[in-house]
């Protein structure tokens, strides 16, 4: 009760009027979505720049500076970004192959808050038993905040169950232990 009362008081004091700014974003948010699926690990890396870092990100993507990001430019950028990601399966480094990239129109990225999605895949062999996956993201074009999360997509008779997750405190690295079973 004391804790709640103390927090309530703090909340009441915080209700004093103050000015607010609209999305004064100065960081690149990076969220990795890893999916364990039959025969592969899929990666979707979402990059969401704030308004103050959207310009440099667009500059890095728009190779010819014509304020349009072509499919070819997006693929080059995706390859550069994923080159700074690493994946190991059962403690063995595995290649992440860059796939397509979903890039909204240039003018929508400029104000910040719009997400660019980069896709990649890595091959893996399914076998019954305990396994470990480690993902690390070292892409840091400036101030960045990172997270990584794991999802399961069973199929072809293979079932997956996560038994543990360990994260580095800076969000760069996620280690997942999981069990594979056969139906």
């Amino acid at each position: 009760v004391k804790h709640i009362a103390r927090r309530l008081l703090a909340a009441l004091l915080a209700l004093l009027p103050r000015s607010v700014e609209a999305h004064p974003l100065d960081e690149l948010a990076q969220s990795a979505y890893l999916t364990i699926a039959p025969g592969e690990v899929r990666l979707e890396l979402d990059l969401t720049p704030g308004i103050e870092v959207a310009g440099p990100l667009l500059h890095a993507m728009d190779g010819d500076g014509n304020r349009m990001v072509t499919g070819a430019e997006a693929r080059i950028y995706a390859g550069d970004v994923l080159a700074r990601s690493s994946l190991s399966l059962d403690h063995v480094a595995t290649s992440l192959v860059a796939g397509d990239a979903e890039v909204p129109p240039y003018r929508r990225i400029e104000p910040g808050g719009t997400t660019i999605s980069i896709h990649g895949t890595a091959q893996r062999l399914d076998s019954v038993g305990a396994h470990v996956l480690t993902y690390r993201n070292d892409h840091q074009p400036g101030a960045s905040r990172r997270t990584a999360h794991v999802f399961l997509r069973p199929g072809n008779g293979w079932q997956y169950r996560v038994t543990g997750q360990q994260r580095s405190d800076d969000g760069r690295q996620l280690t997942v232990t999981y069990v594979v079973t056969r139906q």
């Binding site: 709640i4 703090a10 009027p17 100065d26």
Partner: protein, 354 residues
């Protein structure tokens, strides 16, 4: 409810009572389909009547703009935390409605969300009006840019969906006979603390207080499991992330004592209270309570100040994320919060598309 007087009452009420008031355990029938047709109940009748009354205020042109097919997958997913100019919504904008149409829409939203939920919608829209407009570009803020849409025709006997949302708000309410699914729904806002019509408002105060109270109740050993990281993280299953199921992390209900379980339930009810009317909330709360042992609470970020940390509730029948937005601003003034029901997004458990 979220005005200062309301939250003070809620917080003090929670703090002073030994056991938290809980709804009963009445559970609506599963499936909701009998002999090949859906049946209805009084709450659904109220919602359908309110929806019909709103549609009756519209011109033919407006009806064309607001009605979509129930199976329109693109429209289902057309919601976002982003403002006008960055994200394009479809339907009818609040700013384009006449006064009588706004009153009818408000009545409908209150039938779906309950009075507390409607108050939250009003406050989120007022917050967006209080947010200074950006100085350049096509980005627009404000209550005028909140959109309503229907997927399918309002009915007590066949599935349909009501969508309402704008910057920081997305209500996706699927009605299937007597059942109502609010998954996925986005709440939060910016600014969270402001003065509206002379009254101080803190939009997420109850959730922030209940979450902090749960964390405070943990022993060191429990806290070690519940606190995953020292840095706040971003929303994981926000817009565009339909159909994904987060793997549970943190401390499960099974690892909590009786008071802590009650606190966890109170935290969940704080969110349900702003997205669900009392009738449907009662059924959902009972379902959550049955699964409480397998429902996890996880925390990323600092314990102070209030409302600055990310927390998550992951259970068999519910996912909650509370995600302060710390990117260069005051994280206690800006939050993206999501509500999802695994395996029942857009009411898929009751009205699958395939």
């Amino acid at each position: 409810m979220n005005t200062l007087a309301g939250v003070v009452a809620v917080v003090l009420g929670a703090a002073c009572s030994v056991s938290y008031p809980r709804p009963g355990l009445a559970q609506q029938a599963g499936g909701s389909e009998a002999a090949g047709r859906f049946y209805s109940d009084p709450q659904t009748e109220r919602i359908v009547n309110a929806a019909d009354a709103f549609l009756a205020t519209l011109t033919d042109e407006q009806k064309t703009a607001v009605l979509f097919e129930f199976r329109d997958i693109e429209q289902r997913a057309r919601w976002s935390n982003l403002p006008e100019g960055i994200f394009e919504r479809k339907g009818l904008a609040w700013g384009d409605l006449e006064q009588a149409q706004r009153a009818a829409l408000t009545n409908l939203l209150e039938a779906v969300l309950g009075p507390e939920g409607m108050e939250n919608v009003r406050e989120q829209m007022a917050a967006d009006d209080a947010l200074p407009a950006p100085g350049r570009g096509s980005v627009k803020f404000g209550s005028a840019y909140y959109y309503v849409a229907f997927l399918g025709r309002p009915s007590a006997s066949s599935p349909w969906m009501l969508q309402y949302g704008g910057h920081h708000l997305a209500i996706n309410a699927t009605v299937v006979g007597p059942d109502l699914a609010l998954s996925p729904s986005l709440t939060g806002g910016q600014p969270l603390k402001f003065v509206s019509e002379g009254k101080p408002v803190y939009i997420v105060l109850e959730e922030a207080v209940q979450g902090a109270a749960l964390l405070d109740s943990f022993t060191d050993a429990q806290r070690e499991k519940a606190v995953i990281g020292s840095q706040t993280i971003d929303l994981v299953l926000g817009p565009g992330k339909d159909g994904l199921a987060l793997q549970p992390e943190g401390l499960p209900g099974a690892g909590m004592n009786v008071q802590q379980k009650a606190q966890l339930l109170a935290l969940i009810e704080a969110r349900l209270g702003i997205i669900m009317n009392a009738d449907h909330r009662k059924a959902k709360t009972a379902e959550v309570e049955r699964n409480l042992e397998q429902t996890y609470f996880a925390w990323w970020g600092p314990a102070e100040p209030l409302g600055a940390a990310y927390w998550r509730v992951t259970g068999p029948s519910i996912l909650l994320e509370f995600s302060p937005q710390a990117l260069g601003g005051d994280p206690t003034q800006h939050a993206h919060n999501i509500y999802r029901e695994p395996d029942n997004e857009y009411g898929a458990a009751w009205a699958p598309l395939e």
